[in-house]
Amino acid sequence: MPFSKKPIMDKRKLSQEQLQEVYAFCKRKDIQYLELRMELVDHIASRIESLWEDQPELSFKDAFHKVYKSFGIFGLSEVAEEHNKLVLKRFYREAWQELLNWFRVPQIFATLSGLFGLYFLLDSFPKLAVLIFYGILATIFAVFIYAYVERRRMRKALDGDLSITMGSLYQWGWLIYFFYFIPFQNLGILNTDSYSDLLQWIEDYRFVALFYCLLTFILCLSSIKLVRKGRNQIEALKQKQSFYKVV
């Protein structure tokens, strides 16, 4: 025989059970987001397998311990913390992108026409302002309920886990608090005196009222888009998550 073939040793890989163990460990370490958890499980598994190349006799338990120890005192929490900050910022990024979209050609014509139209409507029919005010509240409430119900549905589909898009939807509640609750918290809208106060306020601050209309539109649209994006990702995430499910 001209060539003597050496038997090729298969690289030692983590078994399904061992991967599930690493996955469960990351979950216990409060890696809430599924995408990050799966990425870290792959990283830890790759490092264990690389360690096995040099020390093939090492048990899984020892190799795992060695790898985790090398992460340092803060271990995975440092990565998770940084990741959580980015998730929270994502909603603002989406909302900002949405805002920019409405100031690009050709959308800017629709935005300006809408704002001018609303301004002249408020000028000609001041009482319409109250209707618009209640319209804003109703829209926010409707979108809030929609986002809440959809988020619960998505979380149920992922067996209680969170996706990045779902996490960023949390910011929706905070934005409502900052932009709507704080400025209007002294305004009891069901009380008749406040009703005339509100009318006066909108007459005096028409531009602020227009700003609120635009803001509501942008925030609601961003939330709806995020919900849809989250829903579209669920099937793919479920499929990936099923790899680590203990049957």
Partner: protein, 99 residues
Amino acid sequence: MVHLIAEQGETYGYALTRMVEERTQGVIQLNEGALYPVLHKLEEKGVLVSEFKSEGSRPRKYYRLAPGKESEDYIATMEEELISYLGALNAIFKKTNYG
């Protein structure tokens, strides 16, 4: 790191740590606490895009440069900044090295 991703076309976190270690002959060792926050930030900035691939094995997240001129411009700017920074450091060491 972005340069390595651009060079490879697409790659994943652990492979990046190995590449950096090999190329710098162990001088630079990227740990997880430094690697992933940077990758995630670049993804949020729109410089990188990622995708999970399974292909019969465990899911793995691959990163690649975002399509479009913006990510290429970002690399060019970062490289320029780094070269000028290294030049500045070099100038300091040359002046202080009286040997």
